[in-house]
Symmetry: C2
Amino acid sequence: MSTDVIELARRARLTSRKLALATRATKDAALLAMADALDGQVDEVLAANDDDVRRAQDAGTDDHMIDRLRLTSERVSAMAEGLRDLARLPDPVGEVVRGSTLANGLELRQVRVPFGVVGMIYEGRPNVTVDAAGICLKSGNAVLLRGSSSARGSNAALVRVLRDAVEDAGLPADCVQLVPADSRETVKELMRARGLVDVLVPRGGAGLIESVIEESTVPVIETGVGNCHVYVDAAADLDMALAIVLNAKTHRTSVCNAAESLLVHADVAQTFLPAVVAALQDGGVTIHGDAAFASYDGVVPATEDDFGREYLSHDISAAVVPDLDGALDHIRRYSTGHTEAIVTGDQAVARRFVAEVDAAAVLVNASTRFTDGGEFGFGAEIGISTQKLHARGPMGLPEMTSTKYVVTGDGHTR
Amino acid sequence: MSTDVIELARRARLTSRKLALATRATKDAALLAMADALDGQVDEVLAANDDDVRRAQDAGTDDHMIDRLRLTSERVSAMAEGLRDLARLPDPVGEVVRGSTLANGLELRQVRVPFGVVGMIYEGRPNVTVDAAGICLKSGNAVLLRGSSSARGSNAALVRVLRDAVEDAGLPADCVQLVPADSRETVKELMRARGLVDVLVPRGGAGLIESVIEESTVPVIETGVGNCHVYVDAAADLDMALAIVLNAKTHRTSVCNAAESLLVHADVAQTFLPAVVAALQDGGVTIHGDAAFASYDGVVPATEDDFGREYLSHDISAAVVPDLDGALDHIRRYSTGHTEAIVTGDQAVARRFVAEVDAAAVLVNASTRFTDGGEFGFGAEIGISTQKLHARGPMGLPEMTSTKYVVTGDGHTR
């Protein structure tokens, strides 16, 4: 495979013209072929992954990262199942978003079309390789996959399997291309391939995403950093609040929709703090608290930094706020615009929180963990956008498309 | 007014929080107040404009540019009427784009919300100042207006009138702010105000737009450059084709949806070329043609450059293509992705053209001049997006919003 990213992008562009015209039947057949191929060649994939894991272990990579990197036959099987799920979802391409006949008789249709070429820049998990390849193929986009160098063997093996299957199903193999991960230069080239690449989706840590936004001339969809708050209002059912806080923090800590910060209305602090501190600590969570929280045993005094952190671990920052306005101010200051939740029984308070919090998702009396394409019923998710342009929140298949106006007349002039 | 753009952006951000919560009734009242104020203070506006026009004349600016700059009482009146039209349009904010109750009983709503702060960077016409202020206000966005220095007196007068009216109507004057046009630095500051400005909309020539895309870290919506083609197919009704070509080229030449290039199928060239050359030349159009066209009197031989040009004048490039594929290849090579039209009576040809041409609008048997927010029935237009992200084609009020997911439960956890 060539290491010239621009050449890869050119091939993707050419291929995208064919893929844009592919019918749903053809695309679904390719997805099923990809799934079967993964199942059939699981041994090759696992062997390549073993090499990656061994190299990472030799380099002293921590266990958490190794776990993200490691594939098992169950994980490969789950990827294949994900592709089969995609085949069952409706094709976003061709959907008429808006349509009318104008006063002069012109027929106006706004129709979903693929972007063309999508670039994915991501870290860690090799399952993103398969998910992104599937979602892009179903939405009619050629994809350029730039994974991390730690997963390069796994990604190469996966892409080899997928490309062969795509070709066997009658679509060009170049629908799915791997961008070499051997140097940081290949990311830079991808970010400057304006005109060849239509959109870049970075998935990973805040540093990766920030650098792509800074440097890319290709339009970027920002994803994923979540400093999510749970605000327990004075009018909250405190048992409900406790269950939501625990679930939001401890159900899965390494994901962007996990809670990272707890705010409690001063009026219920005396009742709620002992209960929530004990419950979180029982769950293995370290609380980085303001003065009110820090008066409890085991609570670490919070620094300014703590309130801005996305821990992705068994840590949570916590503060008592004087009232709803205090909570809103705090969230405005520290929010990454991902997911913010309130627990309250007061309808007027809930309405204000929903109206005034500026985030992709605002949850009332529900755990932050629900901000997820699967939970929202989208069936597939390429990431969670935290920007306001194009897509905000979980992005499913329709979010991976643009639109085109088709206007039909019979000789209309102005 | 401070010349510190970041300070203006901070004020816009603060104001945007209030404006986002304003009801439709409040916003419409402000729009009507703005319209009345323009009508009432037309003399001050015209006096300021006179100074701009005189300065431009002294600088030797060409008549075409002077005409774009010049305001008349009719033009000011039309701006006021535009604001009243906006007041009649539905409020995009609060519209539920998608909504369902999930299997677990969670209520999911995707609701339109304002972006927050919009930056407009534009050239020439002072009417953009009023249009943009109105559209941003109606869509709940605070706006930072950076017009051209040639119109700085007119823009300052207009913004003064608008701000007073907004304040009288009970909204903060800072909903509408003018960014000083005294140096290029103010554009640069606007482009780096990520986090304070949510989206930038450049309107103007290709050079302006290219530089904003290159340099901005604020997300940009690319607008307006249109190298629009009309392709006359072998199966075209040639009378219809002639009318469409003439309308597309000569109805108004200075706009982005004017035709700039004509492609004719070889099979009808012998019949159509004499007619279209004569008709265009009668209309005062200079044809820059390939060899087939250049054999006609008065046709200037086209250079490679001509086919890539957006003339915005009484000029058109023209070529004969061997077939539909030739037309598609030519368009793929030179299109700016704005508007492409075909004239054909062949349904299969029309279907292929619509499917394969990659542009914001594809027109069948209609003039390119119809790609317009007004013609599409949107009632207002901030520009025509030629990019694929977020909005493509004419952008009305809904395109000036983002969305937010609101999820309501009664203690839901995962």
